[in-house]
Symmetry: C2
């Protein structure tokens, strides 16, 4: 940085600079090199590295000067061995969509970039027999600094209990938030307010004049599915409306299930004039069903999805969808894990927003239910 090429070390002004001599060797610097060059013990160097308060400012500067000059970076392996924990964050997930995973990764990296922490990805299969054991081995063996859990396994009680037992810090990314969170889970979580965006989606449809609305849900047991449904219900309720049972159909967050569900809904008589799908995959399935029936979106059918996946803005007509700030969520999750602060916030909540595109329009004026 701003260190002059010839520093005024106690070894004398015009003598051969031992630092320069060291740099000639072109070997990776260790704490020992720093110690001997700075003429202190390794322990003192270690204290500097770890920001121990019990180091004289003068000594600290001296050591830091050497560290910068020879480009010393402590070896994470050795450090980890001594600390008994690594500097690795584990990202564990079962099977979310690709874009979601990549966005989360990007967010995590926003946070850890330059911090010396790295992220190791660990997909798993929640239906596998050794699901828990496999994760246990992974976490234990790698001595992870922290774990980030994505939905839906972030809602797996057994997994959480095991991680508690393993005594590893972890953060859950989830849509769940509220009373059904019982018994209360104390681990930090980063939450997206799915409910809110879906509420907006419902109101949007109502304002467009739709009253006969189809709802394609997410898989039973998924917190996100529950939240989205409740948000949607709430939005309708604000206008004195509600979903009729026959227009509620179960999806599995897959394209195929959305297609089938929409086919079912559109075969009803009278058919719904709008469909809310609990994610974009299924909404696109509804597009396909509409196309097969020759229904034009949005003129004859309005569609809303959830995720604001890339396809939403690429398909014609553009898909109105609810967007959560996935990348921010990932970043926050990592921050929660590696922040120095003692009292880290236990729950961070992110709002979701309705992105209105061309897939939603006014109900056909002449449509007879």
């Amino acid at each position: 940085m701003s260190i002059p090429p010839s520093s005024k070390t106690p070894s004398g002004p015009s003598a051969v600079d031992p630092v320069e001599a060291f740099l000639q060797r072109r070997k990776k610097a260790t704490i020992n090199d720093v110690a001997s060059l700075a003429q202190v013990s390794k322990k003192t160097v270690s204290r500097v590295i770890n920001n121990s308060p019990s180091v004289r400012a003068e000594t600290r500067e001296q050591v830091n000067a050497i560290i910068n000059r020879i480009g010393f970076k402590p070896d994470p392996q050795a450090r980890g061995l001594a600390f008994r924990r690594s500097f690795l964050l584990g990202l564990i997930y079962d099977n979310p969509n690709a874009q979601y995973v990549v966005n989360i990764q990007a967010g995590i990296l926003d946070c850890i970039r330059g911090s010396g922490t790295e992220i190791i990805v660990h997909p798993c299969d929640k239906n596998s027999d050794d699901f828990l054991e496999e994760i246990r081995d992974f976490v234990e063996l790698q001595r992870l600094a922290g774990v980030i859990l994505l939905p839906p396994i972030a809602e797996n009680r057994q997994l959480l209990a095991m991680l508690d037992d393993l005594d590893v810090p972890y953060v859950r990314i989830t849509a769940m938030h509220g009373a059904e969170n019982t018994p209360p889970i104390l681990s930090p979580q980063v939450v997206s307010r799915d409910r809110q965006g879906c509420l907006a989606a419902a109101e949007h449809l109502v304002e467009l004049g739709h009253t006969r609305i189809g709802f394609i849900s997410g898989p039973a047991g998924y917190a996100s599915a529950r939240e989205r449904r409740q948000g949607f219900d709430e939005g309708l309720a604000r206008h004195g409306l509600s979903l009729s049972d026959e227009l509620i159909t179960g999806g599995e967050y897959t394209f195929e299930s959305g297609f089938e569900a929409a086919r079912h809904l559109l075969a009803l008589s009278p058919r719904p004039t709008a469909i809310f799908a609990s994610n974009d995959e299924m909404a696109i399935g509804a597009y396909k069903a509409a196309a097969q029936l020759g229904l034009t979106i949005p003129d004859e059918l309005s569609v809303i999805g959830y995720d604001d996946a890339p396809i939403a803005s690429r398909i014609t007509p553009g898909l109105t969808s609810v967007k959560a700030p996935i990348r921010d969520i990932g970043r926050t999750a990592a921050e929660t894990l590696i922040s120095e602060e003692k009292p880290r916030r236990n729950t961070t909540i992110f709002d979701t927003a309705l992105i209105v595109r061309e897939s939603t329009g006014p109900r056909e004026p002449d449509f007879k239910p």
Copy 2:
């Protein structure tokens, strides 16, 4: 596994089993525990762990029995420190699409699952000032067991030179293969034969009667862009056709660039009856352009993409596209890196295939060029 609960160790049949005693302590086993329990030195245990041939079969079994009973797993950190390298694979990439990254990751994991190796993801920015330095620090600090490079940075000569200098094993995943690979790069690579699938795409269009075909290329300098173009040219040439210059337009592998390119092509007079886009993102851009112009796919315009991205099978009409076995490619890359075999294959090639869907059809019989 199949070890009886009470084993017949030399310590005596009905005496207090030292192994059981150890298991009571519920502490993570170390090599020392194994050594004392098996009544050998740590070194012998170490040899067993590392499959050293110079261990008597009997001794080996004895040690392995203890290892299994107490569930000993060598600590990667300590092992890495002694080995001077970690058991981590680095996946470095700049900005491919999300599905590609996730597929590659899945393939890598197919390979390393249960091997003790883990994968750490490292996105980077090839336009950043400290692009190389940043990667150097990463690789050096983590003492990576190997590096997997994705396109387009897998084609960056400076990066390759640096990795050579760092003496870290690495594999390149690329589309490039052939004479233009000069000066020859000796590092292992896993190659997809982009050329072949694109050749098939061209022939497919020709067979449907198309002669006036638009081509949207990938970014200049990308090996994949070059290969796809050449494959397509070759396919046309087999039927005595070739791309006319005015129908070749440059894309950037982005949705927007595909949209603009297609708009340009479709504004020509006479317009092309078919468009090949060098990836699906751009092909979907062409869909949008066609929709804006009121052109029906495939009746009035045939479209082919590349990647067989999820959107290809979800959009209506389904997009005919070239598919590469991404996951297999990822797996092979990992295998190349962690295989025990000395003479590991330097280049593995995977075929690509044309997936025909509904976006391609016969040229309109009455279309006058």
